[in-house]
């Protein structure tokens, strides 16, 4: 019953959201596009942290891998960006599997694993900065859009197009996460998260399911990176592979609520507009660094007063969702 009701609610919500471009102006659309992007990537990161319990602080690696896969494909090969989407998933997932396999094979846990992910992301950033073919430090620029550009072929267009594209991406990633989390693998992940040794003892192939979590999470993150390239039209090693991106990616799911399917979305809805506001405010009064203070303050408030994020208490209040 409840399942049916929430499914119907989701469809209605999607339909309403889909009408956005006919109702809203371009600026609001672009902010919402970023909300969808960071909600998607937050869901992806959350698979690994929230469900499988593995803290990755280097997800910029996968985001950047997807971004560069798409960027190189479009600029160097001139192939349709459509191929870039599956490619960025595969590239991201490969990096995820690599980091995961290395880390979990050597039984790296906790802080050490988190530092390992940072190290890999930073290594990638430094290498790409010196990779002349990919533009090095100077970055990579997608060719300018021609007047006869077909958004559905080039996957690039105006604010309305990206709004729809990212809305669909979010819906697809959300659905994939929902199916995974409710399936057998989701139970394995939670078992590993709660107590890995106990999970092993009852026969959960812990290493394998952790690597799978890392690969899937990284693959979805890669796709989001590819969309980021298309939206921005350019990419730089520091902006997509840097530590800052790794942090930007994880703020939304933490604020919204780890290990929930709506938390990352709610987090992105809260964070992105705040981000825009502080950017405006900073420009108005020409002070930099305001965004960081806002981010920091939000995280501090969350960790002090709502350590499980804002979604669980909100859901209780709205009386939806299952109790844990």
């Amino acid at each position: 019953m409840l399942e049916m009701r929430s499914a119907r609610m989701a469809v209605v919500l999607l339909a309403v959201l889909f009408a956005g471009p006919w109702l809203l102006d371009d600026f609001i659309l672009s902010v919402l596009t970023l909300v969808f992007l960071f909600a998607s990537v937050g869901l992806a990161w959350n698979l690994m942290m929230g469900y499988a319990g593995q803290l990755s602080l280097g997800h910029a690696l996968h985001f950047g891998a997807g971004a560069y896969a798409m960027g190189l494909l479009v600029t160097k090969l001139g192939v349709s960006a459509w191929f870039g989407l599956p490619l960025s998933f595969v590239v991201g997932a490969l990096f995820g599997a690599l980091v995961g396999a290395l880390g979990f094979r050597f039984a790296v846990r906790g802080v050490y694993f988190a530092l390992l992910t940072i190290a890999f992301a930073e290594l990638a950033r430094i290498l790409v900065e010196h990779w002349a073919f990919a533009g090095g430090n100077g970055g990579l620029f997608l060719p300018a859009l021609t007047p006869d550009n077909q958004p559905l072929l080039s996957l690039r267009g105006g604010a309305g197009f990206f709004y729809h594209a990212l809305l669909v991406t979010l819906a697809v990633i959300w659905l994939a996460c929902a199916l995974l989390v409710r399936g057998r693998i989701g139970y394995y992940w939670r078992a590993v998260r709660e107590d890995e040794d106990a999970a092993r003892a009852i026969g959960v192939p812990a290493t394998r399911v952790k690597v799978l979590a890392a690969a899937l999470s990284a693959g979805f993150t890669g796709v989001c990176g590819a969309w980021y390239t298309l939206i921005q039209g350019s990419l730089f090693p520091d902006s997509v592979l840097g530590m800052r991106m790794s942090i930007d990616l994880i703020v939304a799911p933490i604020v919204g609520g780890l290990g929930t399917l709506f938390g990352p979305i709610l987090g992105a809805i809260v964070i992105q507009p705040l981000n825009e506001l502080s950017k405006d405010f900073a420009q108005e009064f020409s002070i930099s660094g305001l965004k960081l203070i806002v981010y920091g303050a939000v995280l501090l408030v969350i960790v002090l007063f709502a350590p499980h994020g804002i979604w669980p208490p909100l859901a209780r209040w709205l009386r939806i969702g299952r109790r844990k």
């Binding site: 803290l55 050597f106 802080v111 988190a114 190290a119 530590m243 965004k291 960081l292 203070i293 920091g296």
Partner: protein
């Protein structure tokens, strides 16, 4: 040629000694409370601004600024641990991480708001002084910073080892409940430890201020350097932090001259990955039961 590399090596080792002080701060906090201070680099930047500010205001050299920065950071660390972080000692790791990241972001943001994003350098005549030692030229600023760092590290070691409070902190680190049972004031001692850890970072910051231009966004880099040293040397191992610091300082200096300045971090990260995978307890760490 030999002279050139000799100077590079000595310069690297001198900076490495300051790195060791910075890493010791991180290590002390981790060793006692098992908390990973992801805002460590930001504390270094606070120390750097103290060093820069004092120099710009009174022309005070780094050796004067270092104790001031250490005192300020000690107070910050004590208050922060006592009133905020102590609540998180038993919290899951990712929550501790979020706490420290939040602090790091706020401090970086405050720096950017108050000092602007432009790098600020100390240009005093003392920056160009050198001590000639045979073929080796010792940069005066670096040498003083290194000597001061080594002295601070030694003092901290001795204090932990021989003072009653230091022993009590070690006991509390060993067995929290047992410590409480025999009347050790854990919250106070933890706050003291955090204060000392932050003070190390602050002093290191003031000492490096004449070597690097200060800007708000340096924090992350220092945090990562400290982590690399601590992991390579062994988490919670004090000799490990010293040797790790010298090693990373040397490696960075060599990589910067032999390969390219922008590649110097590559080597450190590579080393970090290898150590985590192959010898996660670090070069000097003990295997935890």
């Amino acid at each position: 040629m030999l002279e050139f590399y000799g100077n590079v090596i000595v310069g690297g080792l001198l900076l490495g000694a300051v790195y060791a002080l910075l890493a010791t701060g991180l290590n002390v906090i981790f060793g006692v409370m098992r908390m990973v201070n992801f805002a460590h680099g930001e504390m270094v930047v606070v120390g750097m601004y103290v060093g820069y500010g004092l120099w710009a205001w009174t022309g005070a050299p780094a050796l004067v600024a270092a104790p001031v920065a250490a005192l300020l950071l000690f107070a910050m660390g004590y208050v922060f641990q006592r009133f905020v972080a102590n609540r998180f000692v038993e919290a899951p790791q990712h929550m501790q991480f979020i706490l420290y990241i939040a602090i790091a972001l706020i401090i970086t943001g405050l720096h950017a708001v108050f000092f602007g994003p432009d790098p600020r350098g100390i240009q005093s005549a003392a920056s160009f002084e050198v001590y000639q030692l045979g073929l080796i030229r010792l940069d005066a600023v670096r040498t003083q910073a290194a000597v001061a760092s080594l002295m601070l590290i030694a003092a901290l070691w001795a204090w932990f080892r021989y003072s009653l409070t230091g022993k009590a902190i070690q006991a509390a680190a060993e067995n929290r409940v047992g410590g409480q049972a025999i009347g050790i004031r854990i919250p106070h001692l933890f706050a003291l430890t955090a204060g000392l850890g932050f003070a190390c970072a602050g002093a290191a910051g003031a000492l490096v201020a004449p070597m690097f231009d200060v800007q708000p966004y340096l924090g992350g880099e220092f945090t990562l350097v400290a982590f690399i040293i601590v992991i390579v040397g062994g988490l919670a191992s004090l000799p490990g932090a010293l040797v790790g610091g010298l090693l990373i300082g040397l490696a960075e200096a060599l990589a910067a001259t032999v390969v390219a300045p922008s590649m110097k971090a590559l080597f450190s990260y590579g080393l970090l990955v290898l150590v985590i995978l192959l010898r996660p307890q670090g070069l000097f760490g003990k295997v935890e039961a």
